[in-house]
Symmetry: C3
């Protein structure tokens, strides 16, 4: 089932507009190409409406936001919604600064996101809806573990219902819910945390998967999450003596480039709750 979602991306070749941070933008572009999509980047307010109009989906990532690009996010988001496009929010660093928290909350107020993807700390900040500054440590909720799983699933389902979005909370265990069902995904490797931008890459992937599977949004995002995690496992199995996090980054993207639907179906590790 999830494999079919990947095959649809390859068949459909979705064009994805990214307003994303300059740290990981190159990897986001290459991951989109690896899965069969096409990336376009544009954050200038005068440019974003035209660009998003020719795309199928919009990926908004606030990782290195500035006043000009924030204006671009609102303009692009509203235009994309007007056109019925997929819009995803990656609230990088929400909770770590007032500007980031406020921007993410305001974006959610004014734009109906198809999907929100972040770590548990960022998503908890958004669920509180408050714009106060919290340090990373003060705000870190318990990570999702086998012990806290039931509570976390309930939280993600509730937040998905409240936002009418597919919500993906990623970490050691990934949760993807549309408010009714929740995919509990156990793909991936801990070493992925030693590469900058695997989360940003996943947000790009999820946008492409949603565009190519817009009638099947929960499965689309779950498939993107499994693709990323499985690529982390395959990439790791291809590591050689002396390889480290920089080579691992390449191997993960390579693994996505080479993945087909059958491989994804065989390698995806999830249960539905």
């Amino acid at each position: 089932m999830l494999g079919k979602c990947l095959e649809n991306v390859r068949a459909n070749g979705p064009l994805v507009h990214n307003i994303t941070n300059y740290v990981t933008v190159n990897d986001v572009a290459n991951v989109l190409l690896a899965c069969g999509g096409s990336p376009i980047m544009s954050d200038e307010p005068e440019d974003v409406e035209d660009i998003t109009a020719i795309c199928g989906g919009l990926n908004i990532n606030i990782g290195t936001l500035n006043k000009n690009s924030i204006e671009g996010m609102f303009k692009a988001g509203k235009k994309a919604i007007e056109l019925g496009h997929i819009v995803l929010l990656d609230p990088v660093g929400a909770g770590a600064s007032k500007l980031r928290t406020d921007t993410a909350v305001k974006l959610m107020d004014e734009i109906h996101f198809s999907c929100i993807r972040g770590n548990i700390s960022e998503i908890k900040t958004l669920s509180l809806g408050s714009g106060t500054t919290k340090g990373v440590d003060a705000d870190v909720a318990d990570t999702v573990t086998e012990e806290s799983l039931d509570t976390a699933i309930r939280f993600v389902k509730d937040f998905a219902k409240k936002t009418d979005a597919v919500v993906a909370v990623t970490g050691a265990i990934d949760l993807v819910s549309d408010g009714e069902r929740c995919f509990v995904i156990r793909n991936g490797r801990p070493e992925m945390g030693k590469i900058t931008g695997t989360g940003c890459q996943l947000s790009g992937l999820a946008t492409a998967f949603l565009v190519a599977n817009s009638d099947n949004r929960l499965e689309a995002v779950a498939a993107a999450v499994c693709t990323m995690g499985l690529a982390g496992e395959i990439g790791w199995s291809n590591m050689k003596n002396g390889d480290g996090n920089s080579t691992y980054r390449n191997r993960i993207i390579d693994a996505i480039y080479n993945m087909d639907g059958e491989t994804l179906d065989k390698g995806a590790k999830y249960e539905i709750r």
Copy 2:
């Protein structure tokens, strides 16, 4: 002959000022180093005149333009022209948004470019000179094929004559013309389209080749195009099981790093029309 152009780059070590997009900028810098040049990046209007003054050439790429960097493009371009430097335009996304089309057209009005490099769709947009927004699909002209080759060559020659620039239209078949002669180049691999930024990298290369071969501009750009395409072939031949587009990106830049004039002369596949 083309090999000599590459050797001149290695001997000359041209310093190239790049105002380029933040998606592919790191690869552009590493490609310039790989061919024997040196990169400097600067887009702030208050900084660009000083920076361009110490360089031999300027590479303007509008891939992630914003209002501030657009001002930088005009300032740097005018200063570079005043100093008799090489200036190249890469009109990324011209035709895809009004801002991009207008910016590229206005740049061409105010700055006499030594070279313009883009895909067929971008160059056709510029040749119409209009600032209206066209979606990517609406604006896509036929790609250059064996069937449309004669027409395409005539178009590129005419545009080169009109702009008094070396024009490079790159795709499956690459065309490089100064208005009189046209190099028809058949190097490269289709998989290069699965890497972000091979076009941006080529624009950086072409600028360095022009600076180091300023008396021989048509050959300089043809040599840069062949270098990129041949590196794509050599890089591909070095791919191993499990490698994908991310590793391919590295292998292409590596191939440029290791290329000498003799290899280029042997591997370049072109005819002159």
Copy 3:
């Protein structure tokens, strides 16, 4: 001794705020992860104070400065000082443009840096304290060679005393001084100059090493410099036929990822003068 500094970084996991250029930012992030630290990037004036407050150190790199990010540098720097954090300056291109020179000099006037790291040309520009524009060539002082070593050591010691900072001048021979002692370091490979951003990466590393070894600042920076140079040697020894500067970039970061204190102690090549 230097190995212990690296082990402290891995044990401490310092969070480093980077205001750095968009050319090499991804590599800076991956290098920080490779050594055991964590990177955050933010340059928007309204965002930087909150972000720097949750970090242990701040790395300011003026490589692609613009008016907005310059304001961010001052705001972040003052906040970091107020909080007693480590602050490092990497004056990329000081001497190459009036804006860069003036910005670096003004930053030094208003912020007490813990460390200043650059090439000999940049540091000489800062030591003159003048804001006049000098071309790269006009400003290039003699590189540090065995012949000019005594003079260079005296210069670096004097500049460190004057600025009350650890000063690192990197090149073929690296000098690191706190004004009293000077580490003369002979690690590294000339091919590192064919990769963009090894200097920027080192500035990120040095910030992390300083945060995790704040009572031992001279050794901390010397350890970072030796780590980078030794990684260049190890990475080079892992190069295979056909590899070039792009693969070398990955291998250097990989070598840092795999380095332990014992390897660093064995491989570090320095004398103290």
